[in-house]
């Protein structure tokens, strides 16, 4: 069982894992599913067992700005942070590769924080790493120009999928960077001329240089 809690969350104590298995509800969602919309009330914390989720910040005009990926062994920091208060979500979560998740009712969060040291540490570490990740996003948009941001975007995508082919249309990339399709096409073309990528329909191949 390669996708067990034990393997994915190696720091969890046996008791914690037993508790999760007892109280959590395993659920599957297909790619494309919106797991959480901005403004919705959060009722569960989500542990990712399989697949991939992208977390977006939504603009008033309907923009979908990519913040980061969630992968197996990780959890949604936003949902954890909202604790028992059942706050509104500040983000949107979209499944981009069929996922299996473990849903944990928020009421249990506080309880587990006190009872399970390994849960406490996991939550704190999740906060910390997501905070850092968002700060890196700030770096990108505050200090870098679009061509650097595009490179970063492609690298991150290929890291997340573990391959060097980015199977996305220029339009999709543009949306997630909050720019226009033409700008992405233009910059990608320049990157191709610099020998960084090879362009095909619905697919960008990252060459070793990148």
């Amino acid at each position: 069982m390669q996708n067990s809690l034990k393997t994915l969350f190696p720091n969890f104590s046996s008791e914690l894992i037993a508790t999760i298995e007892q109280n959590g509800s395993a659920q599957d969602f297909e790619s494309g599913t919106i797991l959480m919309r901005t403004g919705q009330y959060i009722k569960n914390t989500v542990l990712i067992m399989k697949g991939k989720i992208k977390i977006y910040r939504e603009g008033e005009d309907g923009g979908e700005f990519l913040l980061y990926y969630l992968q197996p062994g990780q959890a949604c920091a936003i949902s954890m942070i909202c604790t028992a208060k059942s706050e509104k979500s500040q983000i949107m979560a979209k499944v981009v590769e069929d996922v299996s998740v473990m849903m944990i009712p928020l009421q249990l969060m506080d309880k587990w924080m006190m009872e399970h040291r390994s849960w406490y540490e996991f939550v704190i570490e999740t906060y910390r790493s997501r905070f850092e990740e968002v700060l890196e996003v700030v770096d990108n948009i505050a200090f870098r120009s679009m061509d650097e941001r595009l490179e970063f975007y492609l690298k991150r995508h290929s890291d997340a999928c573990g391959c060097s082919e980015v199977k996305l249309s220029h339009q999709e990339i543009a949306t997630e960077l909050n720019t226009s399709r033409e700008v992405v096409s233009r910059l990608l073309k320049k990157m191709e001329q610099r020998g960084l990528v090879k362009l095909n329909r619905n697919q960008i191949e990252l060459l070793k240089k990148i």
Copy 2:
């Protein structure tokens, strides 16, 4: 004693306050002091008793991008999040109005989290609100243009200082928005023409419209 722990942190239990007074070290810093540099190891959590601190993200090129303010009754989320691991700081903290702070050794963080419910809740709430604040920063730079960001900056400043005069040079504002002085001058001039502000040397007066 208007700046007592009890008044500033009304949700802290009496035992917690006693513990803080016993273990924390009260310190004062003058405006201009850099309390924390990017990359430094964090050894303390900081509770703000008086004054104001600005938190910045530093760019490789020396940029100082403003993230948010810390005010009396608040605490530095970054320092809390780094827990006992004594991680490196991802941000820079600068005193902008003489402060009195309470420094709390990081080792005590974990202990108090378990022992003091009110501390636990304060820490979680601090994480949550700072995360939200950084997400708002992302909104601004991802979705808005410089004139809107400048307006937001001025509003935030006047909220923080509780007055309608912003006593900063255009250069200082430009630095914190990571743009150039000329751009700020230009946009401020337009705002003045729209009747939103009145410009003086080293001072911008926000008019009611804003």
